[in-house]
């Protein structure tokens, strides 16, 4: 006998009867599903292996685990990351590619992250924090929060009128004065909407869109921050670009955290959004830790990463004449060389990296005062020029997001 075709409830013209049939069918379906689930639960109660097998099999497909292949991913297992090139069995458990590691170790952040051993790892790098021109109270409040997050951060207001200077020039001056990073908080219509991180002296500049800012006062039962160096957790930075961004954030904080401060700053990357959180933790047992959120909460999204400092296009400057390079040292060279020499000298004067400034000065009593002052002057004169044009290591363009599963960090 041929199978009887199931009749559609939508074919019933009488509304009351139709609704009745639909309700009955839905109820039946629900009861069948419940019966099925109860049977599975009963079977799993007796045999936990079944549950394990079911959970392993039924992994939901999300945008995160269906991510499009990005050739720049740096993973521990080269076999898994490359869906295209053939790799031998030998490469399976070798770890990330040594050339990628070499490239990472030689990037512009390496001098801050693997510094010469005599530098104190507890001293925070100098960070200059400023706003966009004509900022309002909103920016200043957010900057106050950032000052508590980043040890070593100094806030300077932007100048008004003629004293308002381009960000590229600010970065050049800050680099000459020994700052490690410049952070510019951009404000638009009473809302902080972007953050620019400029690594110095010649390092990459990154522009992030800033959203979902929640100041600590708005977080219920928030903790109070202390001036201890926080620990840093960087989650899910997978690609080469992600590594660059992660290392950039690493250079903001001192190398050695104060563990007794029990503060931790987390930057969690998920689908190219960076979630910033700051917590205070306390271990309740050796396995479990309780967290209390301290500081501001915000979300960042990388828009572009430039290779050098922000460019300064000085189109109005007087044109220099045609000149020939005679050779021999120029002033610029001298300034830079002496600064480098000075750096080494001042490091050599202190026997260990952890000596205080006072001790240094006591030791230097016997030294020639004049010589030291001269060196200090030359140190201050170190000139860093911003480039004439920008080069982008990465920039977001809408055409790059071919599918919803494409991510770059």
């Amino acid at each position: 006998m041929p199978p009887r075709k199931r009749f559609e409830a939508s074919a019933i013209k009488n509304k009351e009867k139709r609704e009745q049939v639909v309700r009955a069918r839905k109820k039946e379906k629900g009861q069948e599903k419940l019966k099925r689930r109860l049977e599975i639960a009963k079977a799993e109660k007796n045999d936990p292996e079944l549950k394990k097998a079911r959970l392993e099999k039924n992994v939901p497909r999300t945008l995160d685990n269906m991510r499009e292949f990005n050739p720049t991913m740096i993973t521990a297992d080269p076999q898994a990351s490359s869906s295209k090139s053939a790799t031998t069995d030998e490469n399976k458990d070798r770890g990330p590619d040594p050339e990628s590691l070499l490239d990472i170790s030689l990037d512009p952040f390496s001098s801050s992250l693997s510094p010469p051993s005599l530098i104190d790892p507890f001293t925070p790098p100098k960070v200059l924090l400023t706003t966009s021109p004509r900022a309002t109270k909103v920016s200043y409040e957010f900057c106050e929060e950032l000052l508590s997050v980043i040890p070593g951060a100094e806030f300077v207001r932007r100048g008004k009128g003629m004293r308002n200077v381009e960000v590229g020039r600010i970065a050049g001056w800050a680099a000459g004065r020994g700052y490690g990073c410049v952070i510019v908080v951009n404000e638009d219509r009473k809302v902080c909407n972007a953050l620019t991180l400029i690594h110095l002296p010649s390092g990459p500049s990154a522009y992030f869109k800033l959203t979902s800012i929640v100041p600590s006062s708005k977080i219920s039962s928030h903790a109070r921050p202390t001036p201890h160096n926080p620990e840093l957790i960087l989650n899910n930075f997978v690609t080469r670009l992600g590594h660059s961004v992660g290392r950039m954030f690493q250079t903001l904080f001192p190398l050695m955290p104060h563990f007794q401060g029990r503060q931790v700053v987390t930057l969690h990357n998920q689908r190219d959004f960076l979630f910033f959180r700051r917590h205070r933790y306390a271990f309740r047992s050796t396995e479990k830790a309780a967290l209390q959120e301290i500081g501001p909460r915000f979300t960042l999204k990388l828009k572009w990463l430039k290779k050098g400092l922000p460019a300064v296009r000085n189109l109005g400057e007087a044109p220099p004449g045609v000149m020939f390079d005679e050779g021999g040292e120029s002033e610029e060279d001298e300034g830079v060389e002496d600064a480098a020499k000075d750096g080494r000298d001042s490091v050599e004067k202190g026997e260990t990296g952890e000596e205080d400034r006072d001790e240094d000065e006591e030791m230097d009593d016997g030294e020639d005062r004049e010589e030291k002052e001269e060196e200090r002057k030359k140190k201050a004169k170190k000139v860093v020029r911003p480039p004439k044009d920008d080069e982008y290591e990465w920039m977001w363009k809408p055409e790059l997001e071919t599918t919803r599963r494409t991510f770059f960090l």
């Binding site: 050739p71 490239d103 045609v322 020939f324 390079d325 060279d333 363009k397 055409e399």
Partner: protein, 416 residues
């Protein structure tokens, strides 16, 4: 199966063999010992590879007859006049020898060694000085002249022989730092021709001179050189040394972001590829200065491009990817739109930032992608010719307003 040679910021030389989409073999063929110094310039010609590094060293390799696939070093030298804030801007190989130029205007000609291992002491290299603050330097296709341009240094064409043999320092003729008189056209000894700045803009302000890239479009035996320059403001200008000093054409705003970073001449007539300081790579029609197409999907600034004879283009960018692109024919009519746009065929992750790339010049039989696609087109044509044609006045023909339009692109059976 084109093969490319790329240099990167760690000073490594890599060979990339691209066989088909999704399959490219990358191998590092040479690594410098000691401190890593970025490769700034590279040139490849008839099996010889010339590389220049940030610390001033330059090496000439031979890529032929090596069993292990590694290059053999023929010569190496160091540009001692190169200082920290300057860099190599161009390296070219000729039949006569190797030419390198720095942004400080130090040009060096190293004749080719007859035996391997001869150093600078045994073969004298000829040096000369041209103005400083240069951005680009090119040797003409015949090797008789060279041209340079830079920041407040206008396009200038020199004769190669006179430049090297003239006198020791051209600075003797001018005092360093003094502005040239605009009215007198005194050329430096060795200089054949110098361009004149474009007229003042609509506010009667002097337009700044800042050439960021240049190339020879054509060189005729009668001494007429056609050159093209890309500027800091994003315009592409073409010059004819015989026609005058002002540019023949000045196409403004060809760069989307910043200035024109790179320019390369395509193998087709009137084809030019430009890369700007953002992440744009575009093909330009030299007849009218219009952008024919831009390549979609680039995320970082282009650092170098290399063209093959089989209508492929390889580009390296700062996001550490090497991309292979197709290039398409220009429209037959001047001012028309291009039928098909260039596409990105493949991208390969090179683990460090590549700075230079060259094609090895070998044409393989299976290379021509264009011919492959033409075969597909012929197959399509067969389908169309085999379909039955609808006669006029038949039942299937549409009537009314649409009939004329339909006739042009009538597909049998589509009306039903």
């Amino acid at each position: 199966m084109p093969t490319f040679y790329a240099g990167d910021e760690l000073g490594q030389t890599k060979r990339i063999r691209w066989t088909s989409p999704d399959q490219s073999l990358v191998e590092t063929i040479f690594e410098r010992e000691g401190a890593k110094s970025a490769m700034q310039v590279m040139d490849l010609r008839s099996g010889m590879l010339l590389t220049g590094f940030a610390d001033g060293n330059a090496s000439l390799f031979s890529l032929q007859d090596s069993e292990s696939g590694k290059p053999t070093l023929i010569q190496e030298w160091k540009e001692s006049r190169l200082r920290s804030q300057h860099r190599y801007i161009r390296a070219t190989i000729n039949e006569k020898g190797a030419y390198t130029c720095t942004s400080s205007g130090h040009v060096r000609f190293v004749p080719l060694a007859k035996n391997i291992g001869e150093t600078e002491e045994t073969i004298p290299s000829q040096v000369t000085s041209i103005p400083t603050r240069l951005c680009d330097f090119r040797l003409s296709p015949s090797g008789n002249s060279f041209a340079y341009g830079g920041e407040e240094v206008d396009l200038s064409v020199w004769d190669v022989d006179t430049a090297f043999t003239a006198r020791g320092s051209p600075a003797e003729t001018t005092v360093a730092g003094q502005k040239r008189k605009s009215k007198s056209s005194d050329l430096l000894p060795g200089e054949l021709w110098r361009a004149k700045n474009v007229p003042n803009d609509f506010l009667n302000l002097r337009q700044p001179v800042h050439i960021t890239s240049l190339l020879y479009l054509r060189e005729t035996t009668s001494g007429s050189n056609h050159l093209a320059t890309g500027t800091y403001s994003g315009s592409v200008r073409s010059y004819d040394t015989r026609a005058g000093k002002r540019p023949v054409t000045d196409w403004k705003s060809l760069a989307q972001k910043g200035g024109i970073k790179l320019m390369e001449k395509g193998h087709r007539e009137h084809e030019l590829f430009i890369a700007d300081m953002g992440s744009e790579l575009a093909a330009v029609d030299l007849r009218n200065g219009r952008k024919l197409y831009t390549y979609k999907g680039l995320s970082g600034s282009i650092s170098a491009i290399a063209l093959t004879s089989s209508r492929l283009l390889a580009s390296t960018s700062l996001d550490r990817l090497l991309r292979i692109h197709t290039t398409t024919d220009l429209p037959l009519k001047d001012g028309g739109a291009v039928e098909e746009k260039g596409q990105i065929l493949d991208q390969t992750f090179l683990k460090s930032i590549p700075t230079v790339i060259c094609w090895d010049g070998e044409v393989n039989s299976g290379d021509d992608l264009v011919s492959q696609r033409r075969d597909d087109g012929e197959a399509d044509d067969d389908i169309w010719t085999n379909m039955p044609a609808i006669e006029e006045g038949s039942d299937l023909e549409t009537t009314g307003k649409h009939s004329k339009r339909r006739k042009a692109s009538h597909v049998p059976g589509s009306d039903q």
